[in-house]
């Protein structure tokens, strides 16, 4: 797959061996990887269609090293791509051929658990699941749970503002952070927030979260941990039409119920999953909903009953509430295996990630069916129904000439459709390189320029992760220029007091 990336700095590459030597002086031993074979592991992230060897890989293990590496790169104008576990689905950690790939994997310690303040202080290379594992003995957990949680790191979660299936009730990463230590591109270290709520001053932590490695490198993160709900139950609901399922979702929320999770699958996804996992999903329905509620048993039982009643009134043809933890997990086993299940029925699949206002779901599904026919490619839909986050899976065969290109075009059409109905290009996977060129579908030049001016405040030379997110990264000097009109500007029709 071809991809437009910033032009390589040949003069810089000519000095590669000096650069590697200088980096080795900062990060000794095996912390600098320059051999082609060893660097191969870093040539792509979870979006494997794109591959690019970095100039060199650096694996620092202290904030001081990160600071020195960044300062070195800043002074010499060397680009830097930060990387966590490399599970990004949008190419956010795709290396640059003339850039340093800064792997944060050695930052893998949990520094402090503070139950009194319901906080954990962790290094960015700690996996998402490890945070929960470190606190679950006391009945706590870390709420955001992206499906890659066994592998993805907290640092990557901060960069991407990762979500998961429980976002509607518990928020995304940004809603679950208290503080961080951030190293700026010039090597300066800044602490944002702490164990208290709301950072003082501008909410810089809030914009660093989800900035896709553009503003700095996070070396320590303080997350909020929550008491695990006493219990949870799920109900499996089957509907004869997607419209009925959509109406059920709206009415559940309209009744004041915020489920812990609310997932939808369409028929192709249900069939793929059931053949794979045998979760007991009904095969003769057009749409399946899993609604999970959590809390004290009294609340859970009360809400399961109410959700069941609402589903009845929305013409559910199947309604099965879990009666044991094993059954609840079985309901989820299917949903959680949706991607590999689709992988079994198709040589390749491409996962799209957009968000729509929920009410537009029937319209979007219908249009996707038309597009599927137009491109001659199958599609299976899994959907975080509660928050409107769609994950259509386009089925294709990379070995058939032209199919990958058709898949990409199909995916782009779906995302443009999301924007057209009032939604957005990405709900949780990030823009990266994948959706970079679609940004103008959602933002004007002015919108994008203002976002880039924020980057300039952090990274005036544009060295952090360039080539991602923005179709074109402008120079800061150019963005800073002001065009002030000469002469008086009148105030027509304005009341003055």
């Amino acid at each position: 797959m071809s991809l437009r990336l910033p032009p390589m700095d040949e003069a810089l590459l000519a000095r590669r061996s000096d650069i590697v030597a200088a980096l080795r002086a900062i990060v000794p031993g095996e912390g600098v990887i320059a051999g082609e074979r060893e660097m191969r592991a870093y040539e792509s992230d979870g979006l494997t269609a794109y591959r690019q060897m970095p100039m060199v890989v650096v694996l620092p293990d202290s904030t001081a090293q990160v600071s020195q590496v960044l300062r070195f790169c800043f002074e010499r104008g060397i680009k830097v791509v930060p990387r966590g576990a490399g599970t990004s689905l949008s190419g956010g950690a795709l290396p640059l051929g003339d850039g340093v790939l800064l792997g944060m994997g050695k930052f893998n310690r949990i520094r402090e658990i503070d139950f009194d303040n319901r906080a954990a202080v962790v290094e960015p290379g700690v996996t998402n699941l490890a945070v929960t594992q470190a606190v679950e003995h006391a009945g706590f957990y870390y709420a955001p749970d992206p499906s890659s949680q066994i592998a993805c790191t907290i640092g990557g979660n901060v960069a991407e503002n990762s979500g998961g299936v429980h976002c509607l009730k518990y928020g995304m990463t940004t809603n679950n952070l208290l503080g961080c230590e951030l190293v700026l591109i010039d090597g300066q270290i800044v602490r944002l927030g702490g164990k208290h709520l709301d950072p003082g001053g501008y909410d810089i932590l809030g914009v660093v979260t989800g900035s896709e490695g553009f503003l700095g490198v996070v070396t320590e993160i303080t997350v909020r941990i929550l008491k695990k709900p006493e219990g949870a139950r799920a109900v499996l609901l089957g509907f004869a039409t997607g419209e009925d399922a959509g109406e059920c979702v709206s009415r559940v929320i309209g009744a004041g119920i915020i489920p812990a999770g609310m997932e939808m699958m369409d028929k192709p996804a249900i069939h793929a999953v059931e053949q794979f996992v045998h979760a007991g999903y009904p095969l003769d329905v057009e749409a399946l909903l899993i609604v999970e509620v959590d809390g004290p048993q009294a609340e859970v039982d009360h809400l399961i009953e109410r959700v069941g009643a609402i589903a009845q009134s929305c013409r559910a043809v199947v309604s099965r509430a879990s009666t044991s933890e094993a059954e609840r997990l079985l309901f989820w086993a299917g949903r959680k295996a949706a991607f590999p299940a689709v992988g079994r029925i198709s040589p390749d699949y491409y996962c799209v990630d957009g968000t729509i206002p929920r009410a537009r779901l029937p319209q979007v599904l219908a249009r996707m069916r038309e597009l599927s026919a137009h491109y001659g490619l199958g599609i299976a839909n899994v959907f975080h129904a509660g928050d409107g986050n769609l994950h259509p899976l386009i089925l294709y065969d990379a070995n058939k000439p032209g199919e990958l290109e058709r898949t990409e075009a199909f995916g782009a059409d779906i995302l443009k459709l999301c924007v057209e109905v009032g939604g957005v290009l990405t709900g949780e996977h990030g823009v990266g390189v994948e959706k970079r060129d679609l940004m103008p579908a959602m933002f004007t030049e002015t919108d994008l320029a203002q976002q880039q001016r924020l980057k300039c405040a952090f990274d005036p030379k544009g060295l952090l992760n360039p080539g991602k997110v923005f179709p074109q990264l402008h120079r800061c000097a150019e963005l800073g220029r002001m065009h002030v009109h000469a002469g008086r500007v009148p105030f027509p029709d304005l009341e003055r007091f």
């Binding site: 139950f115 208290h196 950072p199 809030g206 206002p357 949780e428 823009v431 800073g480 002030v484 003055r496």
Partner: protein, 410 residues
């Protein structure tokens, strides 16, 4: 007093900023002006008051989303969402009582731009967590947007976070989209009587760390209880530690008994139901014991965010050096603190304590000459201050919008 300009649409806002740029003038950005006394006193050439930019443009309760012009009265929005059994879960503070301003003039834009939120912050997040997207005019007189109308969105930088709490110093928000949430079916509050602050914070931590899903945890020392407009509290002869439960009736009933059992080892208990509970939490939200009518309006009032477990120690440190009155919210993590009048509002004492225990402090009320002299908003180290200035320059390079409101030169 500078002239006041009330733009009626976004184009007019753009023109006003363009005018300021051209003429080298500065603008005060205000909603209804109810929070005007917060911040450094500034010299501006013109006030841009957004109170004519009103109207809810979209409200879809079952989608949990509402869009409005930034100048729409906060009360109008709170009434509208309440009519659909919903609420703004971050409990925006109504500052009128402590500042002597008219709450009915407060706007949604002001509530978001100041990020001031109430007791439910611990559980539901701050204003910044509920602002999904906006349209704004930058100090470059350019209209731009960020975010969207859906909760799950990582498309581009999350500028909503930055604008919430920027007090109009970065851009003039003209349209906002926010998340609404269901209003709890019922609520109840468990009160523990007679605890000193340290024990109260321990009790609140126990409650927060239980499965009770507490949505408010405040400690009212004895000297402020009589100022709470809820008879059951005002008549208490000792301090009151309050813990709120909200949700569906069967759940609240269950959690209430669990919480009572847990709290009984700390002291004598009582229960506030429905309206009494609601009124208590409104009083805590708005820091009613420090209302301008109830006390000398000149008493400097601080709002301090601190790690919850440090709340009592921080308060003790400050009270060792001055005669103070306080109220603890956020399970000890938020302290409202009134000091005797002085030329510096006790700022050195407060900032030393904050530096020792972590967190930050905002001077919510003090006479203008005092606010001109001391840091009203927390100022980080030199690196953070420089970064803050560069961010400001990226949005407002000529310093047109609320210059100096938060910090001199920003």
């Amino acid at each position: 007093m500078p002239d006041i300009l009330k733009p009626a649409d976004v184009k007019h806002v753009e023109q006003a900023v363009q005018w300021a740029l051209t003429e080298g003038k500065t603008l005060e950005i205000a909603g209804g002006g109810t929070k005007r006394p917060i911040g450094r006193p500034t010299q501006v050439d013109l006030t841009l008051e957004l109170s004519a930019l009103t109207g809810v443009t979209l409200y879809e309760p079952e989608e949990l989303v509402l869009s409005a012009r930034a100048g729409t009265p906060l009360e109008e929005i709170e009434t509208l969402v309440a009519s659909k059994n919903q609420q703004l879960a971050f409990e925006p503070i109504h500052c009128g009582r402590i500042l002597g301003s008219a709450d009915e003039r407060a706007t949604i834009g002001g509530a978001l731009a100041t990020n001031l939120c109430g007791p439910r912050r611990m559980k539901a997040g701050a204003a910044r967590d509920h602002l999904l997207g906006f349209t704004a005019v930058s100090g470059r007189a350019e209209t731009f947007k960020s975010g969207g109308r859906v909760v799950k969105n990582v498309t581009g930088y999350d500028l909503s976070k930055l604008l919430a709490g920027s007090w109009g110093t970065l851009a003039v928000m003209t349209d906002v989209t926010l998340k609404t949430l269901p209003k709890p079916e019922t609520e109840a509050t468990v009160l523990i009587h007679g605890l000193p602050p340290e024990a109260a914070i321990q009790a609140m931590a126990r409650a927060m760390n239980s499965g009770c899903d507490v949505s408010g945890a405040a400690h009212l020392p004895q000297e402020v209880v009589s100022l709470i407009p809820v008879a059951e509290v005002a008549q208490a002869a000792t301090s009151v530690t309050a813990m709120r439960l909200e949700g569906f009736a069967p759940s609240v009933a269950h959690r209430r008994s669990t919480l009572k059992e847990l709290a009984s080892s700390f002291g004598e208990l009582s229960i506030l139901r429905e309206q009494s509970s609601t009124r208590l939490w409104e009083a805590v939200r708005d820091a009613i014991p420090f209302a301008a009518q109830a006390r000398d309006a000149e008493l400097p009032l601080w709002r301090i965010s601190v790690p919850a477990s440090m709340g009592a120690a921080l308060a003790a440190r400050i009270s060792a050096g001055a005669q103070v009155q306080m109220l603890f919210d956020w399970a000890g993590g938020l302290i409202w603190l009134a000091l005797p009048p002085s030329e510096d509002a006790g700022a050195p004492l407060v900032s030393a304590a904050v530096a020792e225990f972590g967190g930050h402090a905002t001077l919510m009320r003090a006479p203008a000459p005092v606010r001109a002299k001391v840091d009203v908003f927390w100022r980080g180290d030199a690196v953070l201050a420089a970064l803050t200035r560069r961010i400001k320059e990226g949005f407002d390079p000529k310093g047109v919008l609320n210059p100096g409101r938060m910090w001199a030169g920003v």
